[in-house]
């Protein structure tokens, strides 16, 4: 994760250390620095990247305007796929679901992550152990986490959430967590938050550790209470960590597939259908490859738009210690 924050959040992408200093940059006499690595260094990476990501994505954009079914030829159909999308109830609902799910995950995961980070950043004895415990679910396969939670959510098993609620005397709160259309999406969100709150925590923790202790001390001497010290010292300095966290959880939320697929497969009905599950089904269940890539293109545009807006706003409020 090392330079991710730095690279996403700082404006100074241009001058590399090699060129920034006062050391002699030219030895060839024509403004070329012979100490720079030759371009052949980047060729293998570029080649693989082009074959696996760039070419297929471009081809995908092309297919989005056709009626290709996966076999045989295809003909150009212009904006037909996008018009269909506008009138396709399942696809339309999936757009709303995707945005709601992303919003819920982003807000709750980062809120919980921040609280956890503040807790394990304090001088408590169990903090090293707690950090490991909270982060551990993030390294387990999302599909396996989804299976575990499917069991916990299942109302017919004696254990799980309903069992706990019963044991706590809160039997009135028992629900059919994944089977109730009005709850399924939120149940998936809770599962994702459980898995990745520790991920947000670690990034916030890294930010907290970069807050100089002297600043806190100075604020304390000036009479600031603990809330004021958080609000006016810690919070502004957490901005880079917040930027990274919001970007990662938003992109992750919009693209979420494994968890939904394994836990609900978009159901019940279309209650937890997301753009990712819809485009998967359109392609591999209904064989509408052209339409599926049109849905993928819409997803790509969402991700790009949201990341750009976030980057602009969040960067603007970053300060340095």
């Amino acid at each position: 994760m090392n330079s991710l924050p730095r690279s996403i959040t700082s404006d100074d992408t241009a001058p590399a250390p090699a060129e920034a200093g006062a050391r002699p940059r030219t030895r060839g006499g024509r403004g070329r620095d012979l100490t720079l690595p030759p371009w052949t260094f980047v060729v293998p990476a570029l080649l693989v990247y082009a074959v696996v990501v760039l070419y297929p994505s471009l081809a995908g954009v092309g297919y989005a305007f056709t009626d290709w079914s996966g076999i045989g030829g295809s003909s150009f159909t212009g904006l037909d796929n996008f018009r269909t999308l506008l009138h396709d109830d399942r696809a339309r609902e999936s757009v709303g679901n995707t945005l709601l799910l992303t919003l819920a995950v982003v807000v709750v995961q980062n809120g919980v992550g921040l609280l956890l980070a503040l807790g394990v950043n304090a001088n408590i004895r169990s903090r090293s152990l707690l950090r490991v415990i909270f982060f551990a679910p993030a390294v387990v396969s999302p599909v396996m986490v989804a299976f575990l939670w499917k069991y916990l959510y299942n109302p017919d098993t004696g254990a799980g959430l309903n069992g706990i609620l019963g044991a706590l005397g809160l039997g009135g709160l028992r629900q059919d967590w994944l089977g109730d259309p009005s709850l399924a999406l939120w149940s998936v969100a809770a599962m994702v938050v459980w898995q990745y709150a520790g991920y947000s925590m670690v990034i916030f923790l890294a930010g907290l550790q970069g807050v100089p202790a002297e600043l806190h001390e100075a604020a304390r001497i000036d009479g600031a209470g603990s809330w004021q010290r958080f609000r006016y010292v810690t919070w502004p300095l957490l901005a880079p960590a917040l930027t990274v966290n919001l970007m990662l959880s938003t992109i992750g939320g919009l693209k979420l597939f494994d968890q939904v697929y394994a836990a609900t497969n978009g159901g019940p009905g279309t209650a937890s259908e997301t753009l990712s599950t819809v485009l998967y089904k359109e392609a591999f269940v209904y064989g509408k490859f052209g339409y599926s890539t049109a849905v993928a293109l819409v997803l790509a545009l969402f991700v790009a738009a949201v990341s750009l807006v976030q980057l602009r706003y969040l960067r603007a409020r970053e300060v340095t210690a």
Binding site: M1, N2, S3, L4, P5, R6, S7, T13, A14, A16, P17, T35, P37, F41, P44, A45, V48, V51, V52, V53, L54, P56, S57, A59, G60, V61, Y63, L116, G119, A122, I124, R125, R127, L130, A138, V139, S141, P142, V143, M144, F147, L148, Y151, A159, I164, I203, A206, G210, L254, K255, D258, A262, S276, Y280, F289, S292, L297, V303, A304, S307
Partner: protein, 274 residues
């Protein structure tokens, strides 16, 4: 005791309680894996007393975890090797030539972090199929290398930018060519970020479910998540067996994480300070 000390104890108590609640799913997972069906039916929430290990043996063979572990290990290791080599050399160029072509290429790589892989999913499937690489290790390795390169290049580029160029320059003056300067001087300096690259990519490749399902389905080379997925589908109501399978499948990646967790957290911290 001072009020500050009381407050620390209070916080410790609260955080411990949060951790206990947080760990409940893990408790359920392990407890059920250690029970036989009768114990599960009688008292699913109770501690597994006496515990039985039968589920683990049965799950191991029913999910054919042995072959799945081999596949996952081969694919993850080969993918990591390529990502380290291609990512570090590519980033070396992009970090040192931060204007013009270098900057353009860097932005092009960043685009790969934002693009959802689903956009290219079908054309890529066609391509891999056309090469005859469906159901092969090299098809998977090519996929993971390409898909994770943007993130890897990103990590390496930021790190290299913060390194002084002097070391490589000195090596060049002493008569190394660029390749030697990189392999002997620059690459060893990248060790901390290489550690982060290894951990994050290993977790991603090991845990990925969708691609191996698509590319390896029915080939006998299925990875651990795919093996567990079909295993769970088959034994869906035998929770003890299913959960033992989940525990066994998650164990390798959890063990690696526990061994390397210091570096994970350090890697994150170093990044934000950089």
């Amino acid at each position: 005791m001072s009020p500050a000390k009381y407050r620390t104890y209070g916080l410790e108590l609260v955080m411990t309680a949060v951790a206990v609640a947080f760990l409940f799913p893990v408790y359920a997972l392990i407890a059920l894996a250690l029970k036989d069906p009768r114990q599960i039916a009688e008292s699913p929430l109770a501690p597994p007393l006496p515990p039985t290990l039968a589920n683990f043996g049965n799950a191991w063979s029913a999910a054919s975890l042995g072959p799945a572990l081999v596949s996952s290990t081969v694919i993850t290791a080969a993918g990591l090797l390529l990502l380290i080599v291609l990512g570090s050399t590519g980033a070396y160029y992009l970090a040192r030539r931060a204007r013009g072509l270098g900057y353009g290429l860097y932005v092009l790589f960043l685009l790969g972090i934002v693009l959802p892989f689903q956009l290219g999913m079908i054309p890529l499937y066609k391509l891999i199929d056309g090469l005859g690489w469906l159901g092969t290790y090299h098809g998977m390795v090519l996929f993971y290398t390409g898909i994770q390169l943007p993130f890897t290049v990103f990590l390496y580029t930021g790190f290299i930018r913060a390194l002084p160029a002097d070391y490589a320059q000195a090596a060049l003056i002493d008569g190394c060519d660029h390749r030697q300067a990189f392999t002997r001087i620059v690459f060893p300096l990248l060790r901390p970020i290489t550690g982060t690259v290894v951990i994050l990519n290993a977790v991603f490749i090991w845990n990925d479910f969708f691609t191996p399902l698509l590319y390896l389905g029915g080939s006998g080379k299925e990875t651990v998540p795919v093996g567990v997925f079909s295993f769970v589908g088959q034994y869906v109501s035998d929770y003890g067996l299913v959960f033992a399978g989940l525990v066994l499948a998650a164990l390798p990646v959890l063990l690696v994480f526990l061994l390397l967790q210091r570096y994970v957290i350090k890697g994150f911290a170093g990044g934000l300070k950089g």
